[in-house]
C-alpha cells in the first residue's frame, strides 16, 4: 500500500496527531451515549488520548523525521513545543469539568474541540510548508472561536466569540496575502526554498518588503502584539475561564513558534528589515499591556493585559535571535504555561453557583477564607512578575540577557522598567486577597481536577525556579530551528 504518495515515515511523524484525532472523534461518539451525570467520563477519554499521544511523541522524539516530502518536519524544536501543548491541554482539561457543570454546558464536543485545536497547534510547529501551516493555523483558530463562545446562553461569551472570529478571519486574510506574495516571489511553498529565493533578491526590494509587512501583521494579530491586540481582552473576558487559560498559553505559544519558523527560515534574509520593526512593536506591546493592566478591575481582563505584556517580553528573544533568545522563548513558554494556568485555575475555582468571581474585589479576604489558595495566588503572581525564587525569573532572565548579548541595551532597560510596572498590578491582587476583609463566608470549592492542576503548576513553578538546569537543557533542544 506504500507507493510514491506515501512512506512509512509519514505515519511515524504524525502518529501522536493520529491518536489525538482518533480520540477526538471517539469523544464525540462516546458522548452521545452518556447521560448527564456521566459527562465527566469525556474528560477522562480526552486525557487518555493526550496520555497516549504524549507517550507516542516521547518515543519518536529523537527521530527527527521529515515527512510528506518535507512538508512536515518533526525536529526537536517541534517536539519541544508539542510537549508544552500536550501538558497545557491536559492541565486545562483537569480544570474544565466542574466549571462546565456549573455553567450547565457540560458536553463532549468541548473536549473534542480542545483536542482538535491541539492537533492544529501540533501541526503548526511541525509544518515547513506554508499551505500546511495555514491549514493547521485555521484548524486551531476555528476550534477556538467555537470554544470561546461555548456558553451558548451567555451574551458576553457570544460577543467575545464573534469579535474573536471576525478579527481572526480578518488577520488570516492579511496573513494569506503575505503568503501569496511569498509564493509569487519564490514559486515554492517550502519555507526553506522561500528563504533561499529571498536571499537572491536585491536588498530593500519593495515586493519582499510588502510581503514581510503583511505577513508580520497577520502573525502579530495571532500573538496579539500592539497595535493588533484589541481583540484579546474581550475574547479573554467573555470566554469560559478554562478556555481563557488554554488560549492564553497554548495557541499563543503555537503562534510564536510559527512566527519563529517564518522569521528564521523563510524571512531570515530580511533580518535587517524585521529587527527594527519588531523592536518598535515589542516596546509598544510591553508598555501598552502593562500600563493598561494597571487600571483593570476585572481579574480576567487584568490577566489578559498581562498576557499581552508577556508577548512583548517574548519578542525580545526574537529580536536577539541568538541561542540565548531562542532558548529563552522556549523556556519562557514552559514557565509561562505553569504559572499562567495556575493563576487562571484559581480564577476558575472562584466560580460558584451565585458568583462569577471575575472581579478583583471578589477575592477580598481570600487569605481568611482559603489561606492555601491565597498563598498559591501569591506565588503565581510573584512568578508572573519575575521575582527570583520562582520560575518566572528564569524565563525573564534568559530573554533579558539575550538582548543584552546582542547590545540592544535600550530594549533591555525598557523591559526591566516594564517588569517593575507589572509588579504594581500583580500585587494589587495580592493586597486585596491579604489586606481586605472578607465580604462573605462562602469558601472556594476545590474539585479534584482543580487540585491536580494547582499541585502540578505549583510544583513546576517552584522547581523550575530553584533548580532550572534540566529544564534549560530540555529547552535548548529547540535550537534545531537554526540547523
Amino acid at each position: 500500500m506504500f507507493n510514491q504518495f506515501f512512506q512509512v515515515s509519514d505515519i511515524v511523524a504524525i502518529y501522536p496527531q493520529l491518536l489525538l484525532a482518533l480520540f477526538g472523534l471517539g469523544v464525540l461518539i462516546v458522548d452521545l451515549f452518556l447521560d448527564r451525570p456521566w459527562k465527566v467520563l469525556n474528560a477522562f477519554t480526552a486525557l487518555l488520548g493526550i496520555g497516549y499521544a504524549t507517550y507516542a511523541l516521547f518515543q519518536i522524539r529523537r527521530f527527527n523525521v521529515s515527512a510528506y516530502n518535507g512538508a512536515i518536519v518533526n525536529d526537536s524544536f517541534a517536539v519541544y513545543f508539542q510537549f508544552v501543548f500536550l501538558i497545557a491541554t491536559a492541565l486545562v482539561i483537569f480544570i474544565s469539568a466542574r466549571y462546565l457543570s456549573i455553567e450547565g454546558e457540560h458536553r463532549g464536543d468541548y473536549y473534542a474541540l480542545i483536542l482538535f485545536s491541539l492537533i492544529g497547534m501540533n501541526f503548526m510547529v511541525m509544518g515547513m510548508d506554508i499551505i500546511t501551516l495555514y491549514i493547521a493555523l485555521e484548524l486551531m483558530a476555528v476550534s477556538e472561536y467555537i470554544l470561546v463562545g461555548y456558553l451558548r446562553t451567555n451574551r458576553q461569551s457570544n460577543e467575545a466569540s464573534l469579535k474573536f472570529f471576525l478579527l481572526g478571519a480578518f488577520s488570516s486574510g492579511i496573513l494569506l496575502y503575505g503568503i501569496s506574495l511569498l509564493y509569487g516571489i519564490s514559486g515554492s511553498t517550502d519555507l526553506r526554498v522561500i528563504g533561499q529565493k529571498l536571499a537572491e533578491r536585491p536588498a530593500n526590494d519593495p515586493v519582499t518588503l510588502v510581503a514581510l509587512v503583511t505577513l508580520a501583521a497577520g502573525l502579530l494579530f495571532k500573538v496579539a502584539g500592539v497595535p493588533f491586540h484589541q481583540w484579546l481582552p474581550d475574547a479573554y473576558e467573555g470566554a469560559p475561564s478554562p478556555i481563557t487559560a488554554f488560549i492564553s498559553v497554548a495557541p499563543k505559544a503555537a503562534a510564536f513558534a510559527l512566527t519563529l519558523r517564518f522569521l528564521f527560515i523563510a524571512l531570515k534574509p530580511l533580518q535587517v528589515n524585521w529587527v527594527p520593526m519588531l523592536s518598535v512593536i515589542c516596546v509598544l506591546t510591553m508598555t501598552v499591556g502593562n500600563i493598561t493592566a494597571i487600571s483593570q478591575s476585572n481579574i480576567k481582563r487584568l490577566l489578559a493585559y498581562s498576557s499581552i505584556a508577556h508577548a512583548g517580553y517574548l519578542m525580545l528573544g526574537m529580536i536577539a535571535g541568538n541561542d540565548y533568545g531562542i532558548t529563552g522563548i522556549a523556556i519562557y513558554f514552559l514557565v509561562y504555561m505553569f504559572m499562567n494556568i495556575g493563576a487562571w485555575t484559581l480564577v476558575v475555582a472562584m466560580r460558584r453557583k451565585d458568583l462569577i468571581g471575575d472581579q478583583i474585589q471578589d477575592m477580598s479576604g481570600m487569605f481568611q477564607k482559603n489561606p492555601a489558595a491565597a498563598v498559591l495566588m501569591l506565588i503565581f503572581m510573584l512568578s508572573l512578575a519575575g521575582i527570583p525564587p520562582t520560575a518566572g525569573f528564569i524565563g525573564k532572565y534568559y530573554l533579558f540577557a539575550s538582548v543584552i548579548q546582542t547590545k540592544h541595551y535600550v530594549l533591555a532597560v525598557i523591559a526591566v522598567l516594564n517588569a517593575a510596572i507589572s509588579l504594581y498590578y500583580y500585587f494589587r491582587v495580592v493586597v486585596v486577597m491579604f489586606m481586605n476583609d472578607k465580604v462573605d463566608e462562602e469558601k472556594m470549592v476545590l474539585s479534584p481536577g482543580v487540585l491536580t492542576t494547582l499541585a502540578v503548576t505549583l510544583a513546576f513553578t517552584l522547581i523550575i525556579g530553584i533548580y532550572p538546569d534540566p529544564f534549560i537543557r530540555f529547552a535548548q533542544n529547540s535550537l534545531s530551528l537554526f540547523q
Binding site: 500500500m1 506504500f2 507507493n3 504518495f5 506515501f6 484525532a21 472523534l25 464525540l28 461518539i29 452521545l32 464536543d109
Partner: protein, 118 residues
C-alpha cells in the same frame, strides 16, 4: 510588455459592446406585449404571496450545511473513482479515512437532532 495587454483591452471593449448592441438591436426587432402573467416572476407556477426578503427559520442553515458536507464529499469521491486503478489500495484507504471522519460528524449531528424538523 504593455503591448501584450492590448488584446485584453480589446476583449474587454468587445465584451461590453456585445450585450449593448444586441439589446439595442433586439429592441427594434422584437414585438412588445407586456401583460400580467408575463411579468410575474414564475410564468408557469404559483404566484408569490410574500415578499422574498423575509426572515426564515435558522433550521434552513443546518440543512444547507448538511448539503455542503455531502456536496464536498462528492467532489472528492468523483476524481478518486475515476483514477481508482492508479491510486489502488492507498487511495481506497485514504477515502475510507476521509469518509470515516465525515460519517462520525454525520452521526453526531443526527444524534444531536439536526435532522429533526420540530
Amino acid at each position: 510588455m504593455p503591448k501584450n495587454y492590448i488584446p485584453i483591452l480589446m476583449f474587454m471593449a468587445l465584451g461590453c459592446l456585445f450585450p449593448l448592441v444586441t439589446l439595442a438591436l433586439l429592441r427594434l426587432i422584437r414585438p412588445s406585449d407586456p401583460h400580467k402573467a408575463k411579468l410575474s416572476p414564475y410564468e408557469c407556477g404559483v404566484d408569490p404571496v410574500y415578499q422574498p426578503r423575509e426572515r426564515y427559520t435558522v433550521r434552513y442553515y443546518i440543512v444547507a450545511i448538511l448539503f455542503v458536507v455531502f456536496d464536498v464529499e462528492t467532489v472528492f469521491l468523483f476524481p478518486w473513482a475515476i483514477r481508482y486503478d492508479v491510486l489502488g489500495l492507498f487511495g481506497l484507504m485514504e477515502m475510507l479515512v476521509f469518509l470515516g471522519i465525515l460519517v462520525v460528524g454525520f452521526i453526531w449531528l443526527w444524534k444531536q437532532g439536526a435532522l429533526e424538523w420540530v
